[in-house]
Subunit: 202 residues, 2 copies
Amino acid sequence: MNFPSKLVENAVEAFSRLPGIGKKTALRLVLYLLKQEESVSEEIAEAILKLRKETRYCTNCHNISDSEICNICSSTGRDKGLICVVQDSRDVLAIESTGQFNGVYHVLGGVIAPIEGIGPEELNIESLFKRIEKEKPRELVFALNSTMEADTTAFYISKKLLPSGIKISAIARGIPVGGELEYADELTLSRSISLRTPYNPS
Amino acid sequence: MNFPSKLVENAVEAFSRLPGIGKKTALRLVLYLLKQEESVSEEIAEAILKLRKETRYCTNCHNISDSEICNICSSTGRDKGLICVVQDSRDVLAIESTGQFNGVYHVLGGVIAPIEGIGPEELNIESLFKRIEKEKPRELVFALNSTMEADTTAFYISKKLLPSGIKISAIARGIPVGGELEYADELTLSRSISLRTPYNPS
C-alpha cells in the first residue's frame, strides 16, 4: 500500500507486529485513532509503556506482578498449602477467572523442550523445589497443557519430588462441558471412560 | 476477570478501546508484549503517540499528511487536472492501493447528514470550490459510498459547480468483479443493466 504519510505507515507497521493483526486491521486501528481525541492515543501509549516497564515477576511464584510479591501470594485469604503449577501467566488468569481455585500458583515460564533448547534450568523449576522445601505445601496440582513437552515437564517435576512425599494431582482431562462425544478425539474419549468419576446428580 | 496486576488490567482496558478488539484479544496482545523485548513496546507506543501528535491534514486536499502539503499534492507526476472527491483518508488509501488513479484527491471529511447536524459548512466543501476556481481542473470524479447522504453531497456539490462548466463524473456502480448475479440486490442489478458498457474482450 502506498501511504500518504510516513507516520501513518509507521503506526500501521507497529500495530501489525502484534499477533493476529494484519495490515488491514492495523490501518483500521490507525484511522480510528486519528479520529479520536489525542488523549485516547496518549492513554493507550502510556498503558503499553508502563505495562512493559513497570510490571515485573513475583519473586515467589513468577506470576506477573506490580510489586515484588504478587497480590495472590501476599493475600491472607489464599490456601498456601495448595500450589497450582502452570506454564505461564495466561493460565493463571484463565484459572482465576473460574473463581474455583483458592490456592496459590507457581508459573514455570514454559515447559521442558529439548529440541528448542529449553531445559529445566531455563524454567522456574528449581525455585519450585526450594519453595516446596520451605513452605511445605500439602498438595501440588499440575494445570499444564496436553502436550508431550508438558507431560515431560510434569513427569520430571513429580520424579524429583518423590522423596518429599507431597501429594501430586493434575487437572481432570475429559470431554469438555457442552462438548459432543461424536466430535471428541479417540484419546480424550478413551481417557474419559477409563478415568470415569462417580455419577453425582445435583 | 481478576487481574493479578493493575498495569496488565490497564493495558487490557487500553487495547480493548480499539475497534474490533475485545477483552480476550486485548489480553493476548498484552501477554505477547510482556514476552517481547522492551523495545517492541516502546516502538509501538512511540508510533501511536507520533501518529496522533505529528500528523496533520494537507491544507490543499485535507488528506492525512506529515507536512503542510501532502506528498500526493506536491508530487510533480500527478495529474492536477483530475480531482477525485472522497469521503475520508481511508478512501484515498483504498484508491491508491489500486494503482489505477494518477490524479489528485479532495477529502471531504464526511458527507452532508442533516440529521446528525453535519451541513456543508462542517465539511471541506468550500475549500473544494476555491480550489476549483484557482486550479481550474478539467474533471471531478466522485468516489463516494453508496448512501443517501453521499448522494445528497454529490448532488449539492455538482449543483453548485454547474456554472463553472467543469466535467463531473462518478465511479462506476455495478456487479463487483467476481460477484454473482444471483446474490446482487435488485437496485445494483437494474443499474448495471441500464448503465451497461460496450463489451470489450481483451
